[in-house]
């Protein structure tokens, strides 16, 4: 059920400001792809165009196309709500719903989509999702407690469980570990390795070591200056990008010479 993503000549704007210029790349199913690059290079913006979350911001728009499993998500008549049900997302800061218990947080996506769910099925979804997010053993005794009672790292895994509970094909992660300590980061990296078996994962990260550790392919983006759009410099196997990049800019960045 995992899916390939095709990005063709994509441009993304905030009002009159162009944040991403002419990006084309193809993401293989059941793989982890990392977007790296300096701040402001448009990698998060590009990620948000993949499930049409970019347009949630007033004035934001996109040209070009993004196909998920061969279907253009920007074609006329496509409901962004349905796109987002297939392409899930985990954010930089853990954002469990404060009014809901741990259990209800996991089921939030299913319930918000008005899908009917028996109590028994609900229990199944909760256990399966929390197990996949590596959180089950830590919270199985307190599913009724509020989601905000968990630690930051646990909250982020709860958000991952919530995202995979609706069984998307693709999982987008926008710097999911940048607000977490190293132990929690390790827990999330471990679980991502497991997620690759069933999902196409795209992750934006500022942590190059993390990109090198977990991803199959890496895309390096950069900007040529303030108020300039971000562009794709190089996209290749992670090992190639980190050991023998074809572009000088990539080599400088992964060696830590700038950014």
């Amino acid at each position: 059920m995992s899916t390939a993503i095709d990005i063709t000549s994509l441009n993304a704007y905030y009002g009159s400001f162009q944040a991403v210029a002419d990006v084309s790349l193809t993401i293989a199913p059941r793989s982890i792809t990392a977007f790296i690059g300096p701040s402001g290079c448009g990698k998060s913006t590009l990620l948000r165009t993949l499930n049409r979350m970019h347009e949630v911001i007033p004035g934001a728009r996109v040209t070009g196309s993004v196909s998920v499993d061969g279907e253009d998500v920007y074609a006329t008549g496509v409901d962004p709500v349905l796109v987002r049900q297939r392409v899930g997302m985990v954010f930089q800061r853990p954002n469990p719903f404060p009014t809901m218990s741990i259990r209800d947080n996991v089921l939030a996506g299913v319930r918000l989509q008005r899908r009917r769910l028996s109590r028994h099925d609900g229990d199944d979804v909760v256990e399966r999702s929390l197990r996949a997010a590596g959180l089950w053993d830590e919270v199985r005794d307190r599913l009724g407690k509020p989601g905000s009672s968990l630690s930051g790292g646990q909250q982020q895994r709860l958000c991952i469980a919530r995202a995979i509970a609706i069984e998307p094909d693709v999982l987008l992660m926008d710097e999911p570990c940048s607000a977490l300590d190293p132990i929690s980061t390790l827990a999330i990296e471990d679980l991502m390795a497991g997620l690759r078996a069933s999902y196409t994962v795209v992750i934006v990260t500022h942590n190059m070591a993390q990109a090198a550790r977990i991803s199959d392919k890496t895309a390096f983006f950069t900007i040529d200056g303030a108020r300039k759009p971000g562009r794709l410099v190089e996209y290749d196997d992670t090992t190639t990008v980190f050991t023998s990049p074809s572009q000088q800019a990539t080599a400088d960045y992964v060696a830590g010479r700038f950014g």
């Binding site: 709500v81 404060p98 009014t99 918000l112 995202a163």
Partner: protein, 303 residues
């Protein structure tokens, strides 16, 4: 261990000490001034509370709570009809203003863009400043045009009070909705949730605690209104269970009538006015306290 070198130490001379003494004196003086002003501000409040309590206690009995003023001349009688009227008119006001107010706030926070939203915000600001008697005249005019001149009813009173309460509800709800982090809206959208369900299931429940306590404080403010009700709800001595027709009395109007139209037994009228005042103050106090309780009940739990 680090050694801190105080190379400024020798300059701590008499002048700096004088400056310090001056600062301390200013601090003491300011503390006293603020303390005295605070007590001065409390004097009228304490005096009012004490007067209402001591004078209101005389008739704070079961008769007062179980009788209307129907056929009562002189001593006896009660304010049951006014308590009922207050309950009905306040309830109707809440029913009219809360949906409109919350809907307007949702529009302003979640949908409103550009000139129209700015106009709505401006009009809400203007409405906040409407004198209550003008709201009364507006309701009087509306009901006179529809039902004929001089039509009085509890509903007309509720309409007038709604005009006063709606801007209040819009303002507090708007603030509470803006406090809901965008992270939560984005989280819901990213789960494939339509906007209206995100608002209904995530944004409103998260803001509910603040909205409910805001509404209760709004109620506490309109429950003491007198002028518009004198105009459009009028005054009656008897029970009126029907919001839609005939005059209806509320506690503030009852107080006014008792004080204004004293019979021969002046003390009996005064006593009833004070007891009604005591009830009104107690009711507002209870509303304020319960708004805190309700805020706690609805607040997102953290443990």
């Amino acid at each position: 261990m680090a050694v801190i070198v105080l190379d400024r130490a020798p300059t701590l001379t008499l002048t700096t000490r004088t400056v310090r003494r001056g600062r301390r004196a200013a601090n003491t003086a300011a503390t006293w001034v603020i303390g005295v002003l605070f007590i001065l501000a409390l004097v009228p409040l304490a005096s009012l509370a004490w007067t209402a309590f001591s004078r209101g206690l005389a008739r704070f009995d079961t008769d007062f709570l179980t009788n209307s003023m129907r056929g009562v001349v002189g001593a006896g009688g009660g304010a049951l009809h006014a308590v009922l009227g207050t309950g009905l008119i306040t309830g109707a006001t809440i029913a009219l203003s809360v949906p409109v107010g919350i809907a307007a706030a949702i529009y302003l926070v979640e949908y409103g863009r550009g000139a129209f939203a700015r106009t709505v915000t401006f009009l809400v600001d203007v409405m906040t400043g409407i004198p209550s008697i003008v709201a009364g005249l507006f309701a009087y005019t509306v009901f006179s045009l529809v039902l004929g001149p001089g039509a009085r009813s509890g509903l007309a009173g509720a309409l007038a009070l709604s005009l006063l309460m709606i801007p209040n509800v819009v303002r507090t709800s708007e603030e509470m909705l803006r406090l809901v982090p965008d992270d939560l809206r984005e989280a819901a959208y990213a789960l494939g949730t339509p906007k209206y369900r995100t608002i209904g299931k995530i944004v409103l429940p998260t803001a509910m605690s603040g909205i409910v306590s805001g509404v209760m404080i709004g109620v506490a403010r309109i429950v003491g209104e007198t002028a518009p009700l004198l105009l459009v709800a009028g005054y009656s001595d008897a029970m009126n269970y029907n919001l839609f027709s005939e005059r209806m009395t509320t506690l503030p109007v009852f107080i006014y009538q008792q004080w204004k139209f004293k019979g021969t037994d002046v003390a009996a009228y005064d006593d009833r006015a004070w007891t009604a005042a005591l009830m009104l103050i107690a009711f507002v106090l209870v509303l304020n306290l319960s708004s805190r309780l309700v805020a706690r009940v609805f607040a997102p739990k953290t443990r």
